[in-house]
Amino acid sequence: MNKNDAGVIIVGAGHAGGTAAALLRQFGYERPIILIGEEPIAPYQRPPLSKAWLKGETDAETLMLKPATFYAEAGVELRTGVQVVSLSPPDKTLTLASGETLAYETLILATGARPRALTIPGAALSGVLVLRSAADAEALKASLGPGKRLAVIGGGYIGLEASASARALGAEAVVIEREPRILARVANETLSTFFTNYHRARGVDFVLSASVAAFEGEAGKVAGVRLASGELIACDAALVGIGAIPNMELAQAAGLDCADGIIVDEAAQTSDPAIYAIGDVTWRHLAHYGRPFRLESVANALEQARQAACAITGRPPPAAEVTWNWSDQYDLKYQFAGLPFDVDDVVLRGDPASGKFAIFHLAGDRIQAVEAVNAPAEFMAGRQLIARRAAVSRSRLADTAISMKEVAA
């Protein structure tokens, strides 16, 4: 390979990698771009896999980040179903599983994360599922429907969204959670209670404070989840949603600095100046909170894709964003922004019983995070107040007679 032809190689064709390729072209990058993905298909949006797509409300074409024709038209060489096995930063090359070596001038690692596996007996039975890729979602969808029962291990967003979608498809759903409440790692207790009640009222069962001992099956297929208590939860499929771990082995083996993710700076640059990393795989400093963290969200993937594309094309860096995410369950739109670090108080605005409320997490008189259910104004205003590090009055924040526009003014 002629090294003069080397441009940007992006390893990982997910939301982050696909967006980086598109932005590089938008920003006028004219050198070659190679986008390499292990999955057999072009970049697509993962969020709908547990929501609209699972319920059959959106089709495969709508999922795609860009139309199939985009890559050729934009001069992006998309190589799907291809695995990168090693990086050689000193030579600026990488090696594929086929043995082929490719040279880069700039490398972007967008290798994402993978579902954390539950290593218990029976985990290899068919019907024990995870939800990350389109193929995972196909398998899950195929096991849902009237008369079917889905056991969900882990009461996080993936599990709750899948449960809501399972109910919409006429299947039963039971959520098994190790902690005494769902969303224990990520949400306020008021929210956990609200979501538990909302799901229960729509037919989802919850088994809390329960640890899973084994999957049991018949003829190689899962038929139940055995709890440590001895209880057996019968099911036709089991979805394991207990978090994700970063795919950083390539970076580690190549000697890049890593923590719980590939360490990057505010331009998404790794410890090697020719290598950027973006998305779920990164461990990034959060200036707003004065600490490093690994964020798993589309917003993070896109922000870092912008950072890397700006840096590579010599554009000024994009403005720092307050991290945010959302989850759709039934008719609920849950939006959250910021992270609840160093929180010493929470303020509830609105009545959870009304199905429209928000929880503000405060450190002193500043908002660190906001969680909003069917409350877009609270979400948007909260996000802006977090970004501005504005001092807020607890009583005004809690008073729904004062609009969020006034509170944020």
Partner: protein, 106 residues
Amino acid sequence: MAKITYIEHNGAEHVLDVKAGLSVMEGAVKSNIPGIDADCGGACACATCHVYVDPAWADKTGTPTAMEESMLDFAENVEPNSRLSCQIKVTDELDGLIVRMPESQH
């Protein structure tokens, strides 16, 4: 199918044929038009697909839902003709639609 003209903040025009059933946002994103970010992919969760609908088209594009209104309330440089383009469904009726993009979505 509808012909839609997207005008960037710097004046650059992009005329696209957008399939009925897609949103005005999807039409731009699928053709990699700068100026519409649509971070949430059309879930009305982020307000990064803000556009100004040409006043002549205000009636045909309909009125925003309460959800969209609330999100727009906090977007930058909002005008009376501001909309979230993920919430405007393309129909044959919208053939000729003109939308302008704000300076920034973030």
